[in-house]
């Protein structure tokens, strides 16, 4: 390009002021030309053309150096198109059609109005904070949006992922250490499976180990079949020889094991020199106690990437979260970290969304507290038991332990459910009244209790609703059939579940009524239970009835649970330090106005 300033073009040649025979090369970048000289030229010309005649102007050979660049080449991914599944699918797959506005597929559109239409946001991968090399960071920054990858790779899904699910996939994809802590029912399973699928297709993973609670193995198999039917799975099961063969079989890129089995197969990794590109822990709160054998075993698995899936990264105290991080990034967190520091340190590792934030169209949860007066029989039994119990605890003096207090708590809670002498129950009366209406309207209900004995009693009294049982006493190989029957048989109006067996991994969104017959020790488990029904796909509001006997231990525990809920919210909102970090010994003893004796072991 020839400079556009005509006046300066004219004065550039020393021998001839008015010559137009300026050589173009004279006007290449003036890197060596001082600002002072150039300013003098300009000012002189502007102020007085005559002044130029007294100036001596020298031609300057200018450098033609181009700006310095840095560059990176990225290898083309080996494969980004999912092969046809070899197994039959439960439902015909659909190619996901990403919203036109979202993905802006202008190749298929010649609509002039496109130019004026604002483009919707797209979901990008972002490099994790602990990725240091610029080349590595740019690799993720420069990847196309999730919508484009999914569409161009022709990945098929049973239904279109929600935008927040794509964000979850974009979050997991580049991370070596991550916690997906979405509220229950938002599809953590689908997000994990899809990310694994994409990483396998892109060649970034070769072998994956997924560890989940034993009852959820079949659930994961079903979800894999639905969301990634082309991926061969290997389920770790059978006798020792068979398991050993499965562990070492390289044919299946994804292996699914359960926590219980890990105890037995802990030596397999070392003996066979196994290494996994990714280990995923489902219901990762299972390792909240870092001294447990389960936690030690999963931490010892040789691996490159570590992901934890849990809706409740904190069940009782921040130590739960620190323990999960011992699996993800050992030593990264400390128990004594201030809550705000903890929140800041974990921000890049944890993704948590709640239904009220991301599923604004989802029918709500309607909480209906059932605060009930005990029946006369129950009240008499309760008073007697409480008074006797407190007297006994006081008499024990310094020898009283937390277990003695727990025993009394449990005894009183059971009386709140049923009077041991007469079987009277204010809760049951209320439940029967509600169930009658629910059954009459063709609906079904889930009833949770922490005791199998309570569920058995309920089963007898609710016989006309043909209740089904789902608790620890039901063999795991029969549990899927129970769920199927509850879903499909119109005669079975009620399912009676224990928190332990029924709180995780089940999809019961066809059921719109949940009863918490008694309260669990922490609200996270209660939320898990409630979210069996209130999850993706639910068509109606879910009514949750929390039963509580007034002026009893249940009411006092309720207050502690609310404080725990506050702790959880505080950490993730980073809005301040909560007053209480869980059900402390002091609080447990305080339920009965007792002081903590000296030298008590710490209880979470």
């Amino acid at each position: 390009m020839v400079p556009q300033n005509d006046a300066l073009a004219g004065i550039a040649v020393e021998s001839d002021w008015f010559s137009t025979g300026v050589e173009t090369q004279t006007w290449t970048p003036l890197e060596a030309w001082s600002n002072d000289i150039s300013i003098d030229f300009a000012e002189s010309y502007t102020n007085d053309r005559i002044a130029f005649e007294s100036l001596k102007v020298l031609p300057i050979q200018l450098s033609q150096t181009l700006p310095r660049t840095i560059g990176f080449a990225f290898p083309e991914s080996p494969q980004w198109t999912a092969p046809e599944p070899k197994v039959a699918r439960p439902a015909p797959p659909q190619v996901v059609h990403i919203d036109k506005d979202t993905n802006d597929p202008e190749f298929e559109s010649d609509d002039d109005s496109e130019t004026a239409k604002p483009r919707k946001s797209i979901t990008r991968m972002r490099p994790p904070g602990d990725l240091v090399r610029l080349e590595d960071r740019l690799y993720y920054v420069l990847q196309p949006p999730m919508e484009t990858i999914i569409q161009s790779a022709k990945l098929t899904f049973p239904f279109q992922p929600f935008p927040y699910q794509l964000e979850g996939i974009a979050f997991l994809f580049p991370r070596d250490a991550a916690i997906l802590a979405d509220e229950m029912g938002l599809g953590k399973t689908m997000q994990a499976i899809t990310t694994i699928r994409m990483l396998l297709l892109s060649g970034e993973l070769k072998n994956v180990l997924l560890i989940c609670p034993k009852p959820l193995v079949t659930n994961w198999m079903r979800e894999f079949k639905q969301w990634a039917p082309e991926i061969p799975l290997a389920i770790i099961e059978g006798d020792s020889a068979k398991r050993n063969w499965i562990w070492t079989n390289p044919q299946a890129p994804v292996k699914i094991a359960n926590y219980e089995l890990m105890m037995r197969d802990r030596d397999v990794f070392e003996a066979n020199d196994l290494h996994f590109d990714l280990v995923v822990l489902d219901e990762a709160q299972r390792i909240k106690n870092r001294n447990s054998t389960t936690s030690e075993i999963v931490r010892s698995i040789p691996r490159t990437r570590s992901w934890a899936l849990t809706g409740t990264p904190i069940e009782n105290s921040v130590e739960d979260l620190v323990s999960i991080f011992e699996f993800l990034a050992p030593g990264y967190l400390r128990d004594d970290m201030h809550l705000k520091s903890l929140g800041k340190a974990t921000r890049d590792y944890i993704l948590r969304r709640t239904k009220d934030k991301v599923l604004t169209d989802m029918p709500p949860k309607l909480y209906r507290p059932a605060e009930l007066e005990l029946t006369g029989e129950q009240r008499a039994s309760y008073r007697s038991a409480e008074e006797d119990g407190i007297v006994q605890l006081n008499e024990m003096g310094e020898s009283v332990t937390i277990h003695h207090v727990f025993e009394l708590v449990l005894r009183l809670k059971q009386i709140c459910n049923f009077d041991p002498a007469t079987g009277a129950s204010a809760k049951l009366e209320r439940l029967e009244a509600d169930l009658e209406e629910i059954a009459a309207s063709g609906q079904k209900a889930i009833v949770f209790s922490q005791w199998v004995s309570t569920l058995d009693l309920l089963g007898e009294r609710l016989a006309k609703y043909n209740p089904l049982y789902y608790h620890g006493g039901v063999p795991s190989n029969k549990r899927d059939a129970v769920i199927d029957q509850f879903k499909n048989d119109p005669k079975n109006k009620v399912i009676l579940m224990s928190y332990g067996a029924g709180a995780v991994g089940l999809n019961l969104q066809f059921c719109h009524y949940v009863f918490l017959f008694d309260r669990w020790w922490n609200p996270a488990v209660e939320d898990q239970a409630i979210n069996r029904a209130h999850r993706l796909g639910v068509k109606q509001p879910v009514t949750v009835t929390r039963m509580m006997s007034l002026e009893t231990i249940e009411e006092r525990i309720h207050d502690v649970l609310e404080q725990k809920r506050e702790l959880f919210n505080n950490l993730f909102a980073e809005t301040g330090t909560p007053q209480n970090l869980g059900l402390s010994q002091k609080e447990i003893f305080g339920l009965f106005g007792l002081n903590v004796p000296k030298y008590q072991p710490k209880v979470a």
């Binding site: 298929e108 010649d110 604002p118």
Partner: protein
């Protein structure tokens, strides 16, 4: 251009320049394959025009710095040669004089802004055309680029979004030059 070219061999170049009020001009160049996956990325160090250049190039300074300096440096350094070059910056179009790849600027929809401003350009005469729901501009002396570009994509069924890669480049520039994030 051969419209029947195998999809797998198609690659597209996206080149852009952003201007930072303190650090100067930054350029980025991304080559993607037909699935929009990145193949190459290049960016320049910050370029600050000298006072002399400002005076010499006057109203054409942006075209000189963006097109002849930055974009030229980027395209020269790349190993791959895309079938077409796109930009979102009119000032970059002068690069077309220096290389043989068809080149067009895509207009962003009204109201869509970037974190860092695109350099302004005073030139008024462009050959403009609409295709794929977008408005394109090419230099009048290379008006035939429009038919080449339309011919190329008529043969393509890729779902590629032609505006989206510029967002990637911008984010990559901010990764490479963190100081610009505060702008």
């Amino acid at each position: 251009m051969d419209a029947n070219k195998n999809n797998k061999t198609i690659s597209l170049g996206f080149v852009t320049v952003r201007h930072h009020p303190i650090h100067g001009y930054f350029g980025g160049y991304l080559i993607v394959n037909s699935l929009a996956r990145p193949l190459e990325f290049h960016c320049t160090l910050p370029v600050q025009p000298t006072r002399a250049q400002q005076i010499l190039y006057g109203s054409t300074l942006a075209e000189f710095v963006c097109g002849e300096q930055i974009a030229r440096a980027l395209v020269t350094k790349a190993k791959g040669t895309p079938q077409v070059l796109f930009s979102d910056t009119l000032a970059v179009l002068t690069l077309r004089h220096m290389q043989s790849i068809p080149m067009a600027v895509i207009e962003f929809p009204n109201g869509e802004s970037s974190s860092l401003p695109r350099p302004e350009c005073d030139r008024e005469s462009y050959h403009r055309f609409k295709a794929f729901g977008k408005q394109f501009s090419v230099l009048p002396e290379f008006a035939e680029d429009s038919s080449e570009i339309q011919g190329l994509f008529d043969a393509q069924k890729s779902p590629l979004d032609l505006l989206e890669p510029f967002g990637r480049i911008e984010e990559a520039l901010m990764e490479a030059h963190p100081a610009t994030k505060a702008a």
